[in-house]
Symmetry: C2
Subunit: 284 residues, 2 copies
Amino acid sequence: MGQSKLITIALLLMSGILLSGCLNTDDTDDSFSTADFDKGSGDTGTTLAYNSDTLYQVSTINALLEGVYDGDTSLRTLKGHGDFGIGTFNALDGEMIMLDGEIYQVKDDGIAYLSNDSMTTPFAAVTFFEGDETLLINETMSKEELEEHLENMMPNRNIMYAVKITGTFDHMKTRSVPRQEQPYPKLVEVTKNQPTFEFTSVQGTIVGFWLPAYMNGVNVPEYHLHFITDGMDAGGHILEYDISEGTVEIDRTYDFYLSLPRDESFMDADLEKDNSSELEMVEK
Amino acid sequence: MGQSKLITIALLLMSGILLSGCLNTDDTDDSFSTADFDKGSGDTGTTLAYNSDTLYQVSTINALLEGVYDGDTSLRTLKGHGDFGIGTFNALDGEMIMLDGEIYQVKDDGIAYLSNDSMTTPFAAVTFFEGDETLLINETMSKEELEEHLENMMPNRNIMYAVKITGTFDHMKTRSVPRQEQPYPKLVEVTKNQPTFEFTSVQGTIVGFWLPAYMNGVNVPEYHLHFITDGMDAGGHILEYDISEGTVEIDRTYDFYLSLPRDESFMDADLEKDNSSELEMVEK
């Protein structure tokens, strides 16, 4: 119902391929270690355990489900805690993809816009991505088949993993969410009419996390993945995909930092109920 | 059944009162700001949000419920992240109370021992306590009545609170847990035979946290409180109490840092099921 505003973004993809030559200077794996943002002095060896393998999160998924769409954390702050991650923007204005230190905003037109640092986020999770395990994919497989490989790469299901998959996708289906007006509806209402986007033979990167079951309420248990094209021009929250070739990397993550918003809308939200079924609906 | 090894620690309390004169030099509210441990350079203003209002936690309550009783975090490390908190020790060897920067171990004899920094913990939560709200109590009230006052002090139920109650308790009932041997039984098995301790007209401090419902699985939702006498010689995990007079303080806490263990017992634990009913049993 109402969810099938399908767009095939062929022109965008072509411009992405044309642009990818010049964009690549910032887009190779080698650039990870030279990213020009501050990892913070906590990295340089104090009694603080804060380190680059920390997943830093703003607010909780339960608050987002309840319609807490404004936050007080700037993208500048977010960049101090990671170069890789996902989230959304104030007023639920699209899907966030942070890759190689840049933050892209996939609005409800399916197009990825480069964000600016003064924008704020009501919900995001980021880390400094450093792949611990790598798997090369050279045959076509479905999302479910790839997930089986991914879970074989994970030494256990009790820690957090950042997941990065760079490659060619025979098929990729994403969605975004339209900017909301006050009073904000619940997320499950918004996603009933979510615009979806389909890509074929697209090159790009899957960015996101696999989190343990005990994170329920705080974040999304298991997979929460967003996508952005190699040309950094389209993407969204992933619904389905098939991959034909690519590189899968996971970053084992043992530390988690949760920063709760201090604004009234978070304080006033009803975060006491179990939202698992609503979460299932909005993620699919 | 089997849970009623009741001990009235009158002699201990008397020695506590006698000793309290010399211990008091480190035990007044004024000493908070002069605690002699490093809060870490993250406090001195970097892009890191790590601050003294962070609740720092080692491992998850679900892992403890599953019998993950050994950890790799030293008490020295814990002291770098707080001066106030609760937890347990390797091999589940007693209840932890951290107060004014010192860590006490209430073993299964009900006695509080000063710990040493090289000991390790499989589960603990600490913060730098700075009271944001204070309430004076000058009439006798039950645990339930005091909790009503406490919840009126909390601006909302969506953030974390450190809770400190210093005063005289007409009645205080605590428990501890005996040191375990490998292979470790589940916590719900251990607490079936927990030694309990009853105090009357005892002066001391309640140390602990009130956490929001979404922390389920990660820590104990709502109250998790331990007790230590003014003489720092007895205490435990609180089961029941009545207070006759005292000072209640809460410390609003917006930031949470979770440090997961890297040892095999944590990795191998089954943390995927909902342990809420077992948690209810072990906390009461």
